[in-house]
Symmetry: C2
């Protein structure tokens, strides 16, 4: 693979989506006219850790790398801006496949109003993709952090949970009795997560007090939010919006569907807290973004995350795994 | 290795160096008060491609990853700002060694007035480090790009060349008759390159017309600059400032020292062009930064990079390797 030819090919397939991007490819660094506040996150996906070439197309890989980073911008309520993609390419990955990885990222970038403005390509024994994303806001106050939750707030979650975890089981060969539509949807949940950028901005505008994206599962991520805010969270596990097909996949895997919904990762939905009087504003933000919002619990004093199912508390402290009743 | 414990350890060793950094670790994304223009670059170093664990300490690896990115900011004349570090950590790398990698990056960040404001840690079969750096400027005009070279400009280069290439030969076991001091200096050139941030800003202020950092060697990088500027460059190879010890290392390796000076990478010096009447301002920028400046040629019409040695032209077009006379 000729590195310079590949870089030239990548430059041809990328589009500039903002006139704030003054210089991008072909320079030592990209030059971007800034807005008042920059919001930056870096995420990496690695072969055999986050994806397998046998089950993920090159486009899936590029999509996933960028989606995981953009989801962090969504969780802050930032406007998307630029992305910088680093590719580590083994010798047995063709130039065409490397370009397909970038095409997957570029297709997501297009829908997310993001310009891929730079990056690099290096040889590597292991395939990996790093995506650094930069979003923007007019002020710090326009953003939502993890530490603003207050006792009395409602806890809400977007979309449906457990789909990515069930999709991963299916990708790994689980045989489950599922309608074809559910099967495909679960696979897509794992392969092509959708960063909730529009919803994140809407929830920020609606006055969300704290927010985090669900990359590791609600059991871990809600604990992070509780920890950073210095509060407790009481979540009714029976209210978790479980994706269609998750129950059947869980049954086939002899696992509790709640475990998939609460303790499997990669759903990239948003978990947030908000004052009860702003509940309708949050629901409206969901409708505007075309994403369902479900209220699943409330913020309490303390520092414990508790998930309750059928009235029985499942106390989880810190980052330990969910142990279903 | 516990990923969350490692992240907590990393958070403990990092320092915030600017009150523009409002949120950094512990959030989904870092939040930084912007200046008018953002300058962003991403670089990755990979085990067995850019370094070997047998010859590079963890601190060397962290230093090198960040240095290669910061060098891109130097080449634009940008003020350094923040860095975001992604670590891909194999199972046989201890938590202590992972922290040492970050300590190497943090030590360089301290000297470079840079705040490491975020990043991630992932498992990976191959050790790699990605560094995204964000620098800042007051306006686009304050920056120097690759495309501003004009016929008649002088071509200058900072520091000394060939040291990193010779250092790599020594790391790989070359036995050369060298004073101990030269030997150590050449190894350090390869392991701990120094991004020329202060010099880059000084040259921008002095009115440099075009600039690039020498990551691949002058034969490749000067060709990039010529290509982007639509000009030719005529460089007198006999004027290249060759680092002490390179001649002896080249002799031991039965190679031409000019080849190490012009066609081996990782020196991370700056190559720039500037109008002849600004020559003294460039020299002054060098003195202010404590880095030697050498004028090695001039910009001409055309699109060819030619290196001349002892009056004999060595025409090099594009990215082909230097073929010494």
């Amino acid at each position: 693979m000729g590195e310079l030819e590949l870089i030239a090919g990548i430059e041809r397939l990328l589009r500039r989506r903002s006139d704030r991007v003054m210089r991008s490819l072909g320079e030592d660094a990209a030059v971007v006219r800034a807005r008042p506040v920059a919001v930056t996150s870096l995420d990496t996906v690695v072969e055999r850790v986050h994806f397998e070439r046998a089950t993920h197309s090159p486009r899936d890989i590029g999509h996933k790398a960028l989606a995981t980073s953009l989801s962090d911008l969504a969780a802050m309520g930032a406007d998307p801006g630029e992305a910088y993609i680093g590719l580590g390419i083994p010798e047995d990955v063709s130039e065409d496949d490397a370009l397909e990885i970038m095409s997957g990222a570029e297709a997501l970038a297009e829908g997310a109003d993001t310009t891929i403005a730079g990056g690099d390509v290096v040889g590597s024994p292991t395939l990996f993709v790093t995506a650094t994303v930069v979003g923007w806001a007019e002020s710090e106050e326009a953003l939502v952090t993890r530490d603003g939750a207050q006792p009395g707030d409602l806890v809400g979650v977007s979309g449906e949970l457990g789909g990515a975890g069930a999709g991963l089981l299916l990708l790994r060969g689980l045989e489950a009795e599922l309608p074809e539509r559910d099967h495909e949807a679960l696979l897509a949940r794992h392969r092509r997560p959708a960063p909730r950028l529009r919803l994140g901005r809407g929830l920020a505008g609606a006055g969300a007090a704290a927010m985090i994206d669900l990359s590791d599962g609600i059991a871990s991520d809600a604990a992070h939010l509780a920890d950073r805010s210095g509060v407790g969270l009481e979540i009714d596990a029976d209210l978790l919006p479980i994706a269609s097909g998750v129950a059947a996949a869980a049954a086939a895997a002899q696992r509790n569907p709640l475990e998939l919904a609460a303790a499997s990762g990669d759903d990239y939905e948003l978990l947030f807290t908000i004052e009860p009087e702003r509940r309708e504003a949050a629901a409206r933000a969901g409708r505007d973004a075309g994403v369902q919002i479900t209220f699943i619990g409330r913020v309490i004093e303390g520092e414990c995350l508790s998930l309750v199912s059928r009235g029985r508390p499942l106390a989880i402290r810190g980052y330990t795994h969910l142990e279903p009743a």
